[in-house]
């Protein structure tokens, strides 16, 4: 993807270090990625790979109390601003203005993300009132319009419902309506469909894509589900142990993963056409995600990697090498595992 405009969100050298009992543990190592307006980047990885910490760091949710040191740059380029804003440099009051207005986030569990004692219409209207200060009646009308926009049937009667009176899919639609109330430039979606059943999941994904097309927001979609990735994302970044290990266009990565970890993840997706074949077992990646406090030497995936070479893979962390078409991979043996022409940057392809 060629970027004629500056990216809506550009993350550079993001590091997160937790301090506990005098020890420092770095859980996020030099993450960098860009998302253009209207584009969706999927951040994929196992539990514990640092996806959610990354999103919390972007939203400045890792405060002093969590004893986390966040360094790097998070440049938010709002459509209304000329210059990008570094979210890690601004003060708390400014950040509060931007949250919900320019950068919003939705969560995995739609029931817990809604306050159980307030009616959903009021919760949506509140977001509007924080930011625009519009009068109650007008905010309520806007809440109604938002409920309609996210496809809730009979929106006017749903305004006065409590969260527990709605189904999981409806609740997630309400959460989305709250996040999109101010038409943010960037939406971070942290596994927004994991808690929903498959048909509802598909509806929510379609809704998010439609809303993205209408508003032109950039979306950072955090998930561990490659089925979801192929459905929503334009590009995908695979995380392992706090590092991005592979990035590229969705079709390219899914068709031909370059990093053994990505390949392993893709192989462990259950496939209907192979289920029930005699002797067929679900592929897994042996071992566990390493403890961030004691990462293995060299490539952090090396102890679990079937292609690991002693002496090479365990000596230094491989660099994230840039290939053609915005593809990046962090593996010393990438050149052996793939044809040479794919590895070298090819200027003639456009």
């Amino acid at each position: 993807m060629t970027l004629s405009h500056p990216p809506a969100l550009a993350v550079r050298d993001l590091c997160v270090t937790f301090q506990r009992n005098g020890c420092e543990t770095r859980v996020i190592h030099d993450i960098d990625f860009e998302i253009a307006a209207g584009e969706t980047l999927a951040l994929v990885g196992e539990s514990g790979s640092g996806k959610s910490v990354t999103s919390m760091a972007l939203m400045r949710l890792l405060g002093r109390q969590s004893r986390a040191a966040v360094t790097g740059q998070v440049a938010l380029h709002a459509a209304t601003e000329r210059e990008p804003i570094d979210l890690l440099q601004i003060d708390d009051a400014r950040m509060r203005q931007l949250r919900g207005r320019r950068i919003a986030m939705i969560f995995q569990e739609p029931l817990t993300a809604l306050n159980p004692v307030h009616r959903v219409g009021d919760q949506i209207a509140e977001v509007v009132r924080f930011h625009s200060g519009s009068p109650r009646r007008q905010a309520r009308a806007q809440a109604l319009a938002l409920l309609e926009q996210v496809g809730i049937p009979e929106p006017s009667s749903r305004l006065d419902s409590y969260p527990h009176e709605l189904s999981g899919g409806m609740r997630q639609r309400v959460v989305i309506a709250m996040a999109l109330a101010m038409e943010p430039d960037v939406l971070i979606a942290d596994e927004p469909t994991t808690a929903l059943d498959v048909t509802v999941q598909a509806q929510i994904l379609t809704l998010l894509k439609t809303l993205q097309r209408d508003t032109g927001m950039a979306m950072l979609f955090i998930t561990h589900d490659f089925g979801v990735v192929s459905e929503v994302a334009d590009r995908v970044a695979v995380m392992y142990a706090g590092r991005i290990v592979e990035e590229g266009d969705v079709e390219a990565v899914l068709a031909r993963p370059l990093m053994p970890y990505t390949a392993g993840l893709l192989a462990s997706v259950p496939r209907l056409e192979r289920a029930g074949l005699p002797g067929e077992r679900l592929a897994t990646i042996a071992g566990r995600v390493p403890d961030p406090a004691s990462l293995p030497a060299g490539c952090s995936f090396q102890p679990r990697c079937t292609f690991a070479v002693p002496g090479t893979c365990d000596s230094a962390v491989p660099a994230l090498a840039s290939l053609k078409a915005g593809r990046r991979v962090r593996c010393t043996r990438a050149h052996e595992l793939i044809p040479a022409e794919e590895l070298s940057p090819c200027p003639q392809t456009s």
Binding site: F107, V117, H118, H164
Partner: protein, 296 residues
């Protein structure tokens, strides 16, 4: 289609829906329902009774001293000055109940405020506030009340303030514990993410969710306050005669215990009834409000 209609019906009845559920759960708690009935009757009697009785609570009639209950119009008898005990009891009830409710109001508001700030900000703010709470709790409240009341004019207002000073800590601790867990819930983070200020999150998002435990604690505070008021009035530091309170009625009954036991029995039973009723209401509310959070 069927499910859609069912959902529509649920939407129409929703206003009374959980109130009904909570209320019916509360009323199913027999002791609590009885307690509520007793408190309602007692309150009503204290409000209206003095107007209906033939005697004033201050009218002295020395010819009718020590009349036992049910002599003529003195349904509950008379005291050493011939004053009607029924009238005194109901007027005393006004003061005792008023002190109870006022203490509840003051200590609930103050305790909630301290608890919510301590629980939300944690860190040194929370530590300092909760250590203050601990310091107050470290004093046996009865001594604190007695020491304080030795220094001030024992008007009903000052008695209320003094008792409230010893009752707010419990609520502060309950609220703090509740807020500590609520602040980690997703909806709090979601509110922060949509740009809410700390004050908004504390009072619009967190406190409404802690209402159940707060209401229960507040109810139990009334019982506690009535008991404390009776206690210090009994010891002579509280409401001063001729103004009647349940406590000072007991106090003046001491020396005639053998000859006129009704002087002690009548206010004694009333205090027991009021305090245990409030405690039962608190228990019932705890059960009724707790199971609401278990709803899907």
């Amino acid at each position: 289609m069927t499910t859609m209609t069912a959902a529509g019906d649920a939407a129409h009845t929703r206003h009374h829906w959980w109130q009904h559920r909570t209320l019916s759960r509360f009323l199913r708690h027999r002791l609590a329902a009885t307690g509520l009935a007793i408190i309602l009757m007692l309150t009503l009697a204290c409000l209206l009774g003095p107007h209906l009785l033939p005697y004033d609570e201050l009218t002295v009639d020395l010819r009718a001293r020590f009349s036992p209950p049910l002599t003529q119009d003195h349904y509950l008898g008379t005291d050493p000055l011939g004053r009607d005990i029924a009238a005194r009891l109901l007027m005393a009830g006004r003061i005792s109940l008023l002190v109870g409710f006022s203490v509840m109001l003051i200590s609930t508001v103050f305790g909630t405020l301290i608890g919510v700030v301590a629980g939300y900000f944690r860190g040194w703010v929370g530590s300092v506030l909760m250590r203050i709470v601990d310091a107050f709790l470290a004093f046996p409240s009865i001594f604190l009340v007695l020491v304080l009341s030795a220094f001030v004019e024992p008007s009903p207002f000052m008695i209320t303030v003094i008792i409230a000073l010893t009752c707010w800590m419990e609520i502060a601790r309950i609220v703090e514990a509740e807020i500590l867990s609520l602040r980690e819930r997703d909806f709090t983070i979601a509110a922060r993410l949509s740009g809410a200020s700390a004050r908004w999150i504390m009072f619009r998002e967190l406190v409404p969710n802690a209402m159940g435990p707060i209401i229960v604690a507040a109810t139990l505070t009334i019982a506690n306050a009535i008991l404390l008021e009776a206690y210090i009035s009994f010891l002579g530091y509280g409401i001063q005669p001729p103004l009647p309170s349940w406590g000072n009625m007991l106090n003046s009954a001491q020396q005639y215990l053998a000859d006129a036991p009704w002087l002690a029995i009548v206010p004694g039973i009333t205090i027991t009834l009021a305090v245990s009723s409030f405690n039962f209401i608190g228990d019932g509310l705890r059960d009724a409000l707790d199971s609401r959070s278990n709803l899907p």
